[in-house]
């Protein structure tokens, strides 16, 4: 190997080392900048708190691994560039290999156990006394249904669907459905919820698969035609929040928004009374 080749090797090694260093520094800096501008929206549910914590813990773990591996790569590229040396004939080290088998295995086990517990809590039965609402997704908006004073949802039957008179396809022969309150929560109305009161949202889909995504609540659940899926959570702040559709559902997927208003129990009761059917 000639001296000029070794010079080129040195330059490339330096460039690559610097590039990887910049990558690590840039990633850290960008994440710090993003914390102020491009981060998860402010949390507004009780269930979101442990989720955010688990996310931050995971982010810390993968950031450490990221810095370690990119750093080692940069270091090795610089140290072991071609300087006319002979490479070492070294290709087995059982203890070393077991080390980087076992450490990730332990970390992964820890994450699995933590996440499994949290996942089970998220999917536990909603507590008694939870508000129950139905949300139906359709191209390209959301409708909601409250059970009305009788506390029971009326039967649905698609044969009775009528875009104006009966958009939720309530079965008019079912007395339980007479007092059901149906709202278009994409346009005129909003899905009203009570602060600090758990709510179970039962999801239906009218046409294709949609996904009920409320970023502030860390909630996402697909609405699947032919099934009723459900999720429950507890809003922790009053205010107005946005529903987004997170599953591609057609050309206007991007406009498929809905509105959630979280209010106190008194405000909610007053609102509900005002909605009673004439």
């Amino acid at each position: 190997m000639t001296t000029s080749d070794q010079g080129a090797s040195r330059r490339t090694a330096a460039a690559l080392g610097v590039a990887l260093g910049l990558l690590v520094a840039g990633a850290v800096a960008a994440t710090l900048v993003a914390r102020g501008r491009w981060w998860l929206p402010p949390l507004a549910s009780l269930q979101g708190r442990p989720v955010d914590r688990l996310f931050l813990v995971t982010l810390a773990i993968i950031s450490a691994a990221f810095i370690l591996v990119q750093g080692l790569l940069a270091l090795f590229v610089w140290l072991y560039r071609d300087r006319g040396q002979r490479a070492s004939y070294w290709h087995e080290h059982r203890a070393l290999e077991l080390t980087y088998t076992i450490i990730p295995a332990i970390v992964m086990t820890g994450l699995t156990v933590t996440a499994a517990g949290l996942w089970a809590r998220i999917h536990s039965a909603p507590p008694p006394g939870a508000l129950v609402v139905e949300v139906r997704a359709e191209q390209f908006g959301w409708k909601a249904r409250y059970p009305g004073p009788d506390g029971r949802f009326g039967r649905l039957d698609p044969r009775f669907f009528s875009p104006r008179q009966n958009p939720f396809a309530l079965d008019p022969t079912d007395p339980a459905g007479r007092d059901d309150l149906v709202l278009d929560i994409s346009t005129a109305a909003a899905l009203h919820l009570v602060v600090n009161r758990p709510v179970e949202v039962r999801l239906r889909a009218k046409d294709v698969v949609h996904s009920f995504f409320v970023p502030a609540f860390r909630v996402k659940q697909d609405a699947v035609p032919g099934m009723v899926t459900s999720t429950w959570f507890t809003p922790s702040r009053t205010g107005t929040f946005e529903i987004a559709c997170a599953e591609l559902c057609g050309p206007l997927h991007y406009v498929m928004r809905g509105r959630i208003v979280v209010q106190t129990q008194e405000e909610f009761d007053a609102w509900l009374a005002a909605q009673a059917r004439p």
Binding site: S9, T12, G26, W38, W39, L40, V51, L54, F55, I62, Q70, L73, F76, V77, Y80, D82, R83, R86, A87, S88, Y89, H91, E92, L96, E97, Y100, T101, P104, M108, L111, A115, A116, W119, I122, H123, Q139, P158, F161, K206, D207, V208, V209, S211, F213, V219, K220, Q221, P225, G226, M227, T229, A244, C245, A246, L248, P251, L252, H253, Y254, R257
Partner: protein, 604 residues
């Protein structure tokens, strides 16, 4: 063994016509190059579609009069229609995953390398191999025809979830475009199955004398295991695609439940379940990710060892982790479905299997690092891309740990965080390995060297461009920006993203433009590149003992005989810093180490 296969005589003896030699060839090398060149053409198209996507996301709603004149259908008045945007998203994914990466890695590199690296004269079934390639262009024609049918190309995403993809009335892209999409995929899957059968049989049956399974280079191991994966996974998607075609055209209801109303019109179907498609699709879809990443892992292992002049570290663990990853890849499909409405217990099970995959992935990563340790690193273009692969694979793999945990994935599922994740771990890493492989094996394929200076330019711009394009997408995902939306402008929680999206778009344009350096280098070097010698990289594996390019039948009258594993780089006592696999066992110190002496006489 290979010498017993009658077609060998036809290969070496007969003078073939131009058509039999270059067009309807049964020579694995020609077929590999055909696959690679066709994939390159499709990659340009797939990249162009990405440019359209980024044009829209960078400047939503902006009018581009010039493009309006070029594409009056998709961009009336210069403004991209929503249907065209979704068609671009769908076709970008479909083309890049199935028509570029799968075809390039298994069809291109797999075809070219397997027989040469195991010391065979050709694939076990050369005619089937030719058929495999010749199913690919018709699949492309059918796929691209969908741009010109009413409603345009499919717009339901590469995942094609029904009922959106099943009901023509549900969206413009769900019309004939979706039917053609399914037919194109079905044709291509048959091609993959032909190829996979061939690779598996070839590796098992046609290894030359001395080439035991544990002497196989990791490239061959990876391609072999990939072929098994593809053979087991693709038929499931083929079946699902046929079922969906029946739902669309035959009035069946595999995926369509009762009671649907599209717009104001009831749908006349009953009894199906949309989740069935998701299970079937991801039963292929996840192994498919490993179909795209295992061959890169193998190729990068060989290129790292060669350019660090050091044996690959932990060969047995490397083989074991390839097999482990492949096995586990069949047990993780549900991690795409945490929010789909499947039973939560399944979520727990799929999380466990998914996080287990992190372990063999970590083994591979650290083994690659250990391969560099105390090596003697040569920064060829191939090596730069292989090192780039390592960096990208780690970056993309780590974010998978976030997504694997269902409570956290609830938030990140179907956001740009996922887009960033798979573009690093699968798309970018795989394409970096493909570039590394091209710089490395181009001399063997065409008998000429690629220009190293252009190669370095290509590397630096691509490496910077990839990170600049995909890294910021993580932050769009943090904010909750959904995938496949035509514009984020309407959402309160996505306000403030515009500068980030503009930056990503500009980076993507630079990234795309940088690829023309590669194209220029590729086609210029085909004709003007420096002549390649037999073994320009001082490599150990068998393909470097035959002339560049190898003749029909690959070897002279006698097949090479293998005496050692594939990684004797810098062995103690040898004069040179490598011992080819074909070098006889006893090498006199200071003697001729290369096994090329014996078969020099068979050269061209």
């Amino acid at each position: 063994m290979a010498h017993a296969i009658p077609h060998v005589e036809a290969h070496t003896a007969a003078e073939l016509s131009f058509w039999r030699r270059y067009i309807f060839s049964q020579d694995h090398k020609v077929i590999g190059i055909q696959y690679a060149l066709t994939s390159m053409a499709m990659a340009i198209l797939g990249g162009l579609l990405a440019i359209f996507i980024r044009l829209q996301l960078g400047w939503p709603g902006r009018s581009w009069p010039l493009l309006g004149r070029l594409f009056p259908g998709g961009m009336p008045e210069g403004q991209m229609s929503q249907a065209f945007y979704l068609a671009a998203v769908t076709m970008h994914g479909t083309i890049m995953i199935f028509f570029v990466l799968t075809t390039l890695l298994t069809g291109g590199f797999g075809n070219f390398l397997i027989p040469l690296m195991i010391g065979a004269r050709d694939m076990a079934f050369p005619f089937l191999n030719m058929l495999s390639y010749w199913l690919y262009p018709p699949a492309i024609v059918v796929l691209l025809a969908s741009f010109f049918v009413s409603g345009g190309a499919a717009g339901g995403g590469w995942t094609a979830y029904p009922p959106l993809s099943a009901l023509p009335q549900a969206a413009p892209g769900s019309g004939p475009g979706q039917t053609l999409w399914l037919v194109a995929l079905a044709i291509l899957i048959v091609a993959f199955l032909f190829g996979s059968l061939n690779y598996i049989t070839t590796v098992l049956q046609l290894r030359t004398r001395g080439m035991s399974m544990l002497r196989l280079p990791l490239t061959v191991w990876a391609l072999f295991v990939t072929a098994i994966l593809a053979l087991l996974a693709f038929p499931v998607l083929l079946a699902a695609a046929i079922m969906l075609l029946f739902d669309r055209l035959g009035g069946t209801s595999f995926f369509i439940p009762a009671g649907l109303v599209v717009g104001t019109t009831p749908v006349d179907h009953a009894g199906g379940n949309p989740l069935l498609w998701q299970h079937l699709f991801w039963f292929l879809g996840h192994p498919e990710v490993y179909v795209l990443i295992l061959p890169p892992m193998g190729m990068v292992s060989d290129i790292l060892a060669n350019n660090a002049r050091k044996p690959i570290f932990g060969y047995r663990f490397m083989v074991g982790s390839i097999v482990a990853i492949a096995f586990l890849s069949f047990l993780v499909w549900g991690h795409h479905m945490y929010t789909s409405g499947m039973h939560p217990l399944l979520g727990t099970a799929f999380m466990t299997t998914t996080l287990v995959i992190a372990v063999p992935s970590a083994i591979k990563t650290f083994n690659w690092l250990a391969t560099l340790w105390r090596g003697k690193i040569r920064f060829t273009s191939a090596m730069l891309f292989a090192l780039g692969f390592l960096s990208l694979f780690v970056t993309g793999g780590l974010t998978g740990i976030v997504l694997a945990q269902p409570p956290v994935d609830i938030y990140f599922h179907d956001t740009f965080f996922v887009v960033a994740h798979f573009h690093f771990v699968m798309a970018s890493a795989a394409i970096f390995a493909a570039f590394a492989g091209t710089y490395y094996w181009f001399p063997k394929m065409f008998g000429r060297m690629l220009d190293e200076r252009l190669g370095r330019w290509h590397f630096w711009l691509t490496f910077a461009g990839i990170y600049a394009t995909f890294f910021p997408m993580h932050y769009a995902g943090f904010m909750g920006m959904m995938r496949r939306i035509y514009s984020p402008q309407l959402y309160a929680h996505l306000q403030g993203l515009a500068p980030l999206n503009v930056f990503v778009s500009l980076a993507a344009f630079v990234l795309f433009a940088a690829q023309f350096i590669f194209l220029y280098n590729f086609f210029r070097s085909l004709f003007r590149g420096a002549r390649a010698e037999r073994n320009p990289w001082g490599a150990t594996t068998l393909e470097w003992t035959t002339p560049s390019p190898p003749p029909h039948g690959n070897w002279g009258p006698a097949l090479p005989v293998v005496h050692r594993w594939a990684y004797d780089y810098s062995p103690p006592g040898a004069a040179e810093d490598f011992l080819p696999q074909a070098a006889p066992l006893a090498v006199p110190v200071g003697g001729e180490p290369a096994g090329s002496g014996g078969d020099e006489q068979h050269g061209r």
